[in-house]
Amino acid sequence: MNHSRSRRNPTREPDFPTAKPPSPGGSSGGGAGAAMRLIVPLQGVVQGRGGLILGSVIPGALYYFFQLYLKRCRSAKPNSNPPSPSSPSAQLADLSRSSSRSNLSSRGSVGPVRVSARANSIAKPNASPYYIGLERASEDPYDRFDNPDGIMQLGLSENRLSLDLIETWILENLERSMIGGADGNLNISGIATYQPFDGMMEMKIAVAGFMSQVMGTTVSFDPSRLVLTSGATPAIETLCFCLADQGNAFLVPTPYYPGFDRDMKWRTGVELIPVHCRSSDNFALSVTALDQAFNQARKRGQRVRGILISNPSNPIGNMLNKETLYSLLDFAREKNIHIISDEIFAGSTYGSEEFVSMAEILESEDFDKDRVHIIYGLSKDLSLPGFRVGVIYSFNTSVLAAAKKLARFSSVSAPTQRILISMLSDTRFIQRYIETTRERIQKMYVAFAAGLKQLGIECTKSSAGLYCWADMSGLIRPYNEKGELELWDKLLKIGKINVTPGSACHCIEPGWFRCCFTMLAEEDIPVVIKRIQRVVET
């Protein structure tokens, strides 16, 4: 994605058309290809077929690809194996390759008109094990009775443990809440007509109240600082559009949720710079590491616009304490950048630790709230991913104004808002739901972690989220990303369980896996453990 470099000129010259980028399998194969491309345009120079211009672009193109190659080398894992097709750097190369391909064909040829480079790249099947695993598991889903040999889905962080509570509420209250009028007559105009794109005020009030309740009422949220979107996915993309220009970057501690690569980069042109956290620190975030990454980016000429943290963390499941949040705020102030805090798992806590929201930290600060923005949603804490409700919460009025306008592209459906206004306003039900769901998550976590421990697999100490961060590094051969992906593949094909390998989350240490346990019933845990055991013993 190099639109920032494109110049509109009458000859429609592409930016970097001529040299083929290095292929993911290694640079030697790409080198021969690059040589061929070098020769052909030079022939053009000699024969005067417009090659003069192309010939002058080649050195620039080669220089660009040399930089790209160096960048990939820097971000490669500390092992000698070539990156597998699923690595993010391969995806980056894929992006440039497809856009250069489309530029090639637009170079004065008479082929059929193309779709955008973006579409070509996005349309391709996703090579990341995160997505491959999700797809396989959905094609052959495990069911205790109907399909006991199916694939068990431990790769999707969805909470099915307390759906029964919501189902009961819906059955008892739904119809009345959606279109019932005060006089008992149906009145559809309240949901049929155009509503504010960033959500009805009643919905914002209800959601603000829910957020406060779910985070332990230690902090209150102002409904006028909310923008509602159809899910947290558009919420984060919208924030990126507001805070960063194409080519700018965000620092993201690793390991991180694989979806960020799609949500934050696809259409915005923003880059993500991983800031590696390690098991020796329990994957804690260090400001030193952030500082290093920031300075390195500056040296590369890359402008960092902010830090993206997920708190509680996905995929680790730990929470940031007040001290860390304060130091993050100080760091952001010093560098004059934003903080995006993705707090979507705030209500899915199960330990004794209390969750601390960025909003709580800012309540005690008198200034500089303009740089903090919170992402939230009802997909995890309320188990309603299908209803599509996401939140941008910001203290910055300009960001809110821009996000409100952008919300037209991803609004929450009105009938759904009506139902949720009713449900979230039933605070007694919500309280019961929050308490019950926490108990159930904790029960599952304890049982699951114990089961893994029996196999000698330890999990990081965590107190939130719908998953464990399991250390299977002792089970992989060789001790690198290739070994990790081989184990992932075995678990999927032989063990018939889908888990998310750490490399898909950009974890710098091989052998870690995210295992979601809230899609299972308690009776399924022994089945999972047995299946892992089967794989481990082969």
Binding site: H3, S6, R8, P10, V115, S116, R118, A119, I122, A123, E158, L163, E167, I170, L171, L174, I179, L186, N187, I188, S189, I191, A192, T193, Y194, Q195, P196, S230, G231, T233, P234, E237, F241, L243, A244, N248, D263, R267, N336, H338, S379, L384, P385, G386, F387, R388, N396, S398, V399, A402, R408, F409, S410, S411, V412, S413, A414, P415, T416, I419
Partner: protein, 467 residues
């Protein structure tokens, strides 16, 4: 601290189209509470057939309760976030779309991509088809929201295809070619043409010849055609609606290159009067577009609950057939009402057969044949007659004096009142024009001066309208 996109005015929301909205918000008409307030005639919303939907819901408790034959389907819906969309819903949608086109065209649900509203669908298509800096040609006048939806985040440029009243604002071969050349003069790479058929704001459907000229043009230039057919179910009079797909099939172009460069945008906001539900879609014969758009729909998925409810409504074929018929009848009646009332006021309209609005000719009321005079007239209509309507300039019309007036978003009484007001104003203006220079004239001037300051104050107001 903010991105360039967030800071700039590329959202296009400072045009008069949106200013009138803001004024309406501050002083909205209510027949009881505020009978002298501003009547909203700039919103293309269909409120005429709510009763039909309400009675359906009353007799189909299952759908609203998320149960199927008494069994709850809630669990599946709560967890359903597959960007391929609810299969039942898509199957019903393609049948509904075919029904609207007299079953002359069939649609494949696998080529349908669901989005949260046509606004989202249009933007996503741009992301899929064009690079930043590419251009799309649009016949004028066009829906003001396109300036925002198609351009803002995508970086795409829009180049107008000028249509004139001399031929009823039809798109001509000449105009197409001129627009194409203009784009080249601006060094823009033309990616395609976007038509709205039936047209917003004209309310007319494109004829066979027009469609054929467009097809020939797209074949010759090897570009895309996007047909926004969001008003296809509101065609209440002759000539009948011809979808771009039908036009292509009639010319047996299914196996040509062009087939995979034609895309339709649709929505249930106008035809079913459900803009609050946020249901839009892209239909494309291009596999890459379908695949990319499907994944991009993650940024605007439709709530599963809404998909389920609508799949139930649309599966009731008797209901949908009756709804379409009855709705069209009501729209036709409304249109006849407003046309007659305007004629009575000495104001003509473009002959239209679809849509929720009229394209009204007030050129004779302009003080001069300029857009400044049009703005002056618009302000008079807003301030003196208390009506918010859309001036042609906001729709990029090349001739001053045309206005879009919506008629389906209010009661009959309110419509009658609005027509009385406009008649009164038209008469006043004609009197003023007849050279009677009284204190009214200087009054007109001072009102104009204070008005501009007041309009500037509005610019900071932050509320959005829509089609």
């Amino acid at each position: 601290m903010l991105s360039r996109k967030a800071r700039l005015d590329a959202h296009g929301e400072d045009s008069s189209y949106f200013l009138g909205w803001k004024e309406y918000e501050k002083n909205a008409y209510d027949d009881v509470q505020n009978p002298t307030g501003i009547i909203q005639m700039g919103l293309a919303e269909n409120q005429l057939s709510f009763d039909l939907l309400e009675s359906w819901l009353a007799s189909n408790q299952d759908a609203a309760r998320l149960t199927k034959n008494g069994e709850s389907v809630f669990r599946e819906l709560a967890l359903f976030q597959d960007y391929h969309g609810l299969p039942d819903f898509k199957n019903e949608l393609v049948e509904f779309m075919a029904e609207i086109r007299g079953n002359k065209v069939n649609f494949d649900p696998r080529k349908l991509v669901l989005m949260a509203g046509a606004t989202s669908a249009n933007e996503t298509l741009m992301f899929c088809i064009a690079e930043s800096g590419d251009a799309f040609l649009l016949p004028t006048p066009y829906y003001p929201g396109f300036d925002r939806d198609l351009k803002w985040r995508t970086g795409v440029e829009l180049v107008p295809i000028h249509c004139s009243s001399s031929n009823g604002f039809k798109v001509t071969k000449c105009a197409l070619e001129e627009a194409y050349q203009q784009a080249h003069k601006l060094s823009l790479n033309v990616k395609g043409v976007l038509i709205t058929n039936p047209s917003n704001p004209l309310g007319t459907t494109m004829g066979r010849d027009e469609l054929n000229d467009l097809i020939d043009f797209a074949v010759a230039k090897k570009i895309h055609i996007i047909s926004d057919e969001i008003y296809s179910g509101t065609v209440f009079d002759h000539p009948s609606f011809i979808s771009i797909m039908e036009a292509l099939m009639d010319r047996k172009l299914q196996d040509t290159d062009l087939w995979s460069r034609v895309h339709i945008v649709y929505s249930l906001s106008k035809d079913l009067g459900l803009p609050g539900f946020r249901v839009g879609m892209i239909y494309s014969n291009n596999e890459t577009v379908v695949s990319a758009a499907t994944k991009m729909s993650s940024f605007g998925l439709i709530s599963s609950q809404t998909q389920y409810l609508l799949s139930k409504i649309l599966s009731d074929k008797k209901f949908t057939r009756n709804y379409l018929k009855e709705n069209r009848k009501r729209l036709k009646t409304r249109r006849e009402m407003i046309v007659a009332a305007l004629r009575n006021a000495g104001i003509g309209c473009l002959k239209s057969n679809a849509g929720l609005f009229c394209w009204v000719d007030m050129r004779h009321l302009l003080s001069s044949n300029t857009f400044d005079a049009e703005m002056e007239l618009w302000k008079k209509i807003l301030r003196e007659a208390g009506l918010n309507i859309s001036p042609g300039a906001s729709c990029h019309c090349s001739e001053p004096g045309w206005f879009r007036i919506c008629f389906a978003n209010m009661s009959e009484d309110t419509l009658n009142l609005s027509m009385q007001r406009i008649k009164a104003l038209a008469e006043r203006i004609q009197q003023c024009r007849r050279g009677r220079v009284t204190h009214q004239d200087s009054g007109c001037n001072s009102r104009r001066r204070s008005f501009s300051k007041w309009v500037l104050n509005l610019c900071s107001y932050d509320r959005e309208p829509d089609r």
